[in-house]
Symmetry: C2
Subunit: 493 residues, 2 copies
């Protein structure tokens, strides 16, 4: 472990390499033999489980229920909504057969040509189509609305360039699919869910986000409007962390889902969908971690506190263990997860490096000298600062430190974002400064042409029109045409 840690590339050397190495070295995930798909290892999965549980509770608190829809989507369903198929057909895994058989020449197993499907299926890249074909049978009257349903599922998009957690062919996510009586109600729910995501990102992931609206170009395929939360990573790039789409009546029309409204007239249902994925793991890693490894906000850390004994004899170890016991008990009683690592086969130095790599928020170390003095050493993973503290009251102190770490991580990330967010009015200036990363608040004329020019010139895209953007008369930095508010432009993951 100590060796592995030493080998970790520094962020300043190669941020991208640092990320890829960290994912593997911290035991979060690894490449699988299946192109573009990863294996999520137990430690990584434990973090994802914490995210899932928290989000699931937040969804349910707003009245959402979970359900499960089929993995496979008939090809014809995917094609019903014109923009939707345009957006997803190019990256589908296609199931064409339902059986293998022994090759006649004895060379092994082949796809049985007799088992060709009449209609092919695609593995869901997202489930609007299969879900709206189902909703048709569930919705007759306004009394059946709203329908507030979420699904936790795997999805697949045949990505050409993949990176673990950030962009993989298969990924895990949740997708909410709501049906409403009115356009207003659906819009309200669309915004409510982007607010849930923002709350989760800020309060649990300790990751500040900017809520905004996507430009037409960056909208979900089939949506009328897409809300997003955008976070800044340590290298100044943006990461889209969650989206909520107002789908208008597009899918209701494509799947002929109507209801009898309160005026006793048939009307197409109003829809929205919203999702976050294992991509959040990438966001979490890149927001907080450092050259020593992972840094985790206490609220999502599978293990919040580790206690390492430092001893030279069994007698010393016994005495330390006896002193540690009530600390472990006290922390557990407060709902804090803690491990007392008294394994003999690894030296304290190795353990320290390992838990640093894994991002355990608080480390306590207790030696024979400490025991004499009635003290204990506490290290915070976020600052790597050590402090010798009285044993007495250590449980309460750890509890306060965990809260403090959660807050500090958020504030540190917010400070980074603020220091790297710039108002720019000259396109030449922008083109120079974008090289160093950061969020750029610029005036834009609102056209797709200009957006595409910016992308072509600089690889940067319009991340969003912030919801809290102030009205401000200005001119587009590219074309000089009038603009009413600034948008955020950045390079992104």
């Amino acid at each position: 472990m100590a060796k592995e840690l030493k080998d970790l590339t520094k962020r300043s050397e190669d941020y991208s390499k640092w990320y890829n190495e960290l994912v593997v070295k911290a035991d979060l995930a690894e490449q699988s033999p299946v192109r573009g798909c990863m294996v999520i290892k137990p430690y990584g999965y434990a973090i994802w489980e914490k995210m899932q549980q928290t989000l699931d509770g937040m969804f349910k608190a707003t009245g959402v229920q979970n359900a499960y829809f089929p993995l496979l989507i008939p090809k014809s369903f995917l094609c019903r909504e014109a923009e939707h198929v345009e957006g997803f057909a190019k990256e589908c895994a296609v199931v064409t057969h339902y059986r293998l058989k022994n090759a006649e020449d004895g060379s092994g197993v082949i796809v049985d040509p007799e088992a060709k499907l009449e209609e092919e299926f695609v593995i869901r890249p997202t489930s609007e189509t299969i879900i709206w074909s189902t909703y048709k049978n569930w919705i007759q009257s306004y009394r059946d609305l709203p329908l507030l349903i979420n699904q936790w599922a795997n999805v697949m998009r045949w990505e050409m360039r993949t990176r673990m957690f950030l962009r993989t062919s298969e990924f895990l996510w949740q997708e909410g699919h709501c049906a409403h009586e009115t356009a207003e109600e659906s819009e309200k729910r669309t915004v409510e869910m982007i607010n849930v995501y923002a709350d989760f990102a800020e309060k649990y992931m300790a990751m500040p986000v900017i809520k905004g609206v996507k430009s037409a170009n960056e909208r979900f395929a089939g949506a009328v409007n897409t809300y997003t939360i955008e976070a800044m990573m340590q290298d100044g790039k943006a990461l889209q962390s969650g989206t909520s789409h107002n789908l208008g009546q597009n899918f209701a029309k494509a799947f002929d889902v109507t209801f009898i409204n309160k005026e006793n007239k048939p009307e197409y249902v109003w829809a929205n969908s919203w999702g976050v994925s294992t991509r959040l793991m990438g966001a979490l890693i890149m927001t907080h971690s450092d050259d020593n490894g992972l840094v985790l906000p206490p609220k999502l850390a599978p293990l919040q506190v580790v206690i390492v004994p430092i001893y030279k004899s069994q007698d010393q170890k016994d005495a330390i263990s006896k002193a540690v016991h009530p600390i472990v008990e006290g922390l557990r009683k407060k709902g804090i997860s803690v491990k007392y690592d008294d394994a003999d086969n690894r030296r304290p130095g190795f353990k320290f490096a390992d838990y640093e790599l894994k991002g355990v928020p608080v480390r306590l170390a207790l030696g024979a000298r400490d025991l004499e003095n009635g003290t204990i050493e506490l290290m915070r993973r976020d600052t790597l600062e050590k402090e010798t503290l009285p044993l007495d009251g250590i449980v309460e102190r750890v509890e306060r430190e965990l809260e403090s770490i959660q807050d500090s991580l958020f504030n540190r990330a917010l400070k980074l974002r603020e220091e790297n967010t710039f108002k720019v009015d000259s396109y030449d200036d922008f083109k120079k400064r974008i090289e160093d990363g950061g969020f750029f608040l610029v005036h834009w004329d609102g056209t797709t042409e200009t957006e595409e020019k910016i992308k072509e010139d600089t690889k940067a895209t319009i991340r969003c029109i912030p919801l809290d953007a102030e009205e401000e008369e200005g001119v587009c930095m590219v074309t000089g045409k009038p603009s009413k508010r600034r948008v955020i432009v950045a390079r992104s993951y």
Copy 2:
């Protein structure tokens, strides 16, 4: 709802039809447009979530961690273990292409022939192959063992005849995959997990099970030994509810997974795998439910108590609501889920029928007369018996009733099984009596030929050799050859 309930086929008329109707009418699941795949509706999914959470906690208590492996398996992986491919190749969904495109004749979207995969993938029917190909990199030394990993996932087997929850092409399950140092340790874990399943079935599902070993014929493809839990449904048929497989070194050999053992010598790793699926939903429904609808054990009921007010005026309703409030509070404080259904748009009779159909274990009804008398009506879903009770102490009484329902359901199911389990020694006798269902304890000569003859003659199979079978000298009921213990033969789902 009342109408739907009246329409429910009686078990005595057509048990199979009753089941299919109940799954739909109780809002548990429905057929999807994808052949053999179902949509699990919110109420059904809420029950599955309770099962998942409970099982997940039980697994973790034995040291198991969760992880996630890819959905797709390269065709060549599936073929590495000879028996395994034999068992699964015939029922695979095969991915052959990774893109759709517009047809040149404008007729719609077609599979892009240019996007043909070099090697096809199958959608996992089970994950031994992809997991053992991964474990090869995770295991070097005995220090890396045991590896105790579980995954919650969807899997797909292209079944020809499907029934909701019992046998569907796609289903949800968990699959545990453990790697051990010794054959003994792996065998111990295999048995430990079948015991976990049996505990879950009996303590949470209130479903008595028989633990046993499968005959060679019924073993998992690639296993050395398969343990099973078998439950009796109300029609006397068996339902295999969970299996745990000792895989010996078969997969380690197929994927070349060796470790340096304590004697410093390379050795193949010892493996087991174990799983339960959404099939348990079918088992739960068929064990307890009746002609009025679903009957759920309180420990798995999404809603344990419903309170229905009976009123003629707003004043009466207000007075009732005031009296109900502390009951709701009291129940919630005890961790009991409760709903006060004071909706005005459905009459009490409709509500009663609906909650009966949904299997809510305890129903409380409170009217104006009750309020005067300081009483409340309690109905148990399992017996449909009503009792008028003092309002005072009702919270504690409900708590006791829930425990009592949980126990009664188990005892009722156990009694049914005991009354329908028969020792039979004559094959003619067996052939007659198998028509009426039940478990038959018979002597069998241990050969696959005899097992297949029984199946051909009677559609019954050897469900298992019970773990607690007593040694008893006897002769095979079919061939007259010697046998040392009785096995259980039954028709099954």
